[in-house]
């Protein structure tokens, strides 16, 4: 029996694919319905890779949900996993009370959390009108609230850009999107269609100095930052707004993983996984944004298919591992190690770069010997690079593999 924790897209896909392999599956979701964050992502652009259709979040979610029920998967809604022990016991509080499950494998599909204001260290009072972007999205799209009258968006990741458009359509005056980096975080498509279409300015190299007001936000002071990220004197600008959205990144949710004794990486703040999305502990897998922050839901659900195949093969994370190390201008790598003793099929390596570049190369090397090299017309942090790694690319004697970006000269 397999337990999947989390009924978002990656969890639903993990349940579907393992069920198709003939396994008994229990899909546990703490909310009252499946879908995770997708039902609130009402914009389109999902599913181009996986379904070959341009879908909205609710449509993508419902199509997976239909498959889950069609296959007769045992779905436990309103059920919270309280703990997962290193002995692979899953403790659940749900509609039938408190239960302890002892599955053959646990698939963590627990998603991510938004980085809040606290992660930015912005001084000032804690006032009404301050939201993380996903919370604002839930309140707007699911609950139907108008969350303010005028807003400033902090962070130019895609969720921030999409919410800038969404709030504008709902009659909220979005003054600007502020980005501390010198370039936008999100896709150019979203810069065009969410900001330029509505004349919302994107202010790069600016950070938030302080947020002021009495009970509700009244104003936000921003200022230009230098290369070290420090505020430049005399560049203060005041936005009179009653609402601030933070869209400053996601972090994998790891609380349950820690309890199970799964090692967490400093760099990604997520678990260590190999090419099968297996953690170093046998029978513990992670998928989707709970494994690493993916760019597209299409890629997040692919990780679930990989895990289902590994479970079918009774994969055990033992043998010789080669670590993959992020080098120059590489922020995130998934997986972070390759099990070379059980490397008989190609896998996809996802690389997230740390800054945009045109015509740069991504290079994989081991002790100066190049394993892979490709020139990319464009590299952007918002879009992951996927590289197919085949067994023939490695000798198996590598001690480590360095992944880096080499800019064109």
């Amino acid at each position: 029996m397999i337990v999947v924790i989390g009924g978002g897209p990656a969890g639903m896909m993990a349940a579907i694919e393992t069920k198709k392999k003939g396994k008994d599956v229990i899909l546990i979701e703490r909310a009252e319905r499946l879908g995770g964050v997708l039902p609130q992502c009402i914009h389109n652009g999902f599913g181009l890779h996986y379904f070959g259709l341009e879908l909205t979040g609710p449509e993508f979610s419902e199509m997976l949900e239909e498959k889950v029920y069609e296959l007769g998967i045992d779905v436990w809604l309103n059920s919270m996993v309280l703990d997962v022990t290193p002995k692979r016991e899953v403790i659940v509080a749900g509609e039938e009370g408190y239960k302890t499950l002892k599955p053959d494998a646990v698939i963590f599909a627990v998603g991510a959390r938004e980085r809040p204001r606290g992660a930015l260290g912005i001084p000032g009072k804690r006032l009404a009108g301050e939201y993380v972007a996903g919370q604002a999205q839930y309140m707007t799209n699911i609950q139907g609230y108008k969350i303010g009258n005028s807003a400033l968006i902090v962070g130019s990741g895609d969720i921030g850009l999409i919410m800038a458009r969404r709030l504008t359509l709902e009659g909220i005056d979005v003054k600007a999107v502020i980005e501390i980096m010198p370039y936008a975080g999100g896709l150019s498509r979203n810069i065009n269609q969410c900001l330029k279409d509505f004349n919302i300015p994107l202010i790069t190299s600016y950070g938030v100095k302080t947020i002021q007001g009495d009970n509700r936000i009244k104003e936000v002071v921003v200022a230009k930052v230098d290369e070290k990220g420090e505020f430049i004197e005399g560049t203060d600008y005041v936005y009179k707004v009653d609402t601030v959205l933070f869209s400053v990144g996601l972090l994998p949710e790891v609380e349950l993983l820690k309890g199970a004794g799964i090692p967490i990486l400093e760099s990604t703040r997520g678990p260590i996984v190999d090419q099968y999305f297996s953690t170093p502990l046998p029978g513990f897998y992670t998928v989707g944004n709970g494994a690493a922050i993916f760019d597209l839901v299409d890629n997040a659900v692919k990780s679930s298919i990989v895990v289902a195949n590994a479970i079918e093969k009774d994969y055990v994370p033992e043998g010789k591992f080669i670590p993959l190390l992020p080098g120059k201008d590489v922020r995130v790598l998934v997986p972070q190690r390759i099990n070379v003793d059980k490397f008989d099929e190609p896998f996809t390596l996802y690389v997230r770069v740390s800054k945009p570049s045109i015509g740069a190369k991504v290079i994989l090397s081991s002790h100066g010997k190049t394993i892979f090299k490709r020139t990319y017309p464009a590299l952007r942090p918002a879009e992951m690079v996927d590289i197919e790694i085949t067994p023939s690319m490695l000798t198996g004697d590598e001690k480590e593999i360095l992944v880096e970006v080499q800019e064109s000269v």
Binding site: G57, E62, R166, S188, N192, D197, I358, A378
Partner: protein
Amino acid sequence: MSKVITLTCIVCPVGCDLEIVIDGDDVKVFGNRCPQGQDYAVKEIRSPERILTTTCKILSKKERRLPVKTEKPIPKDKIFEVMKEINRLEVEPPIKRGDPVIRNVLGLGIDVVATRSVSS
């Protein structure tokens, strides 16, 4: 009198910075690295279109909002007018994903459809 507009091309991830010079009916595109940038820019200048996604009211005990979209792209300058039409709606469940909630909105020949199902 010619007018100059700047635009980031969204055809591929390169994202060329386009400079478009409009002189009456004449549209000249600069900065594109490939011919697709030319086509994109001309389309964006002459008749930009977008798929509109939003929510409308649903008369359900379970759900407060029903997500909807225009099933095809609509002219960009009609977005707020179509929003007004959608904001007037009160949809009765049951409704299936893909069911129209407005047929031929504003005579554009395009339906507004539900993007999720809600049972009664």
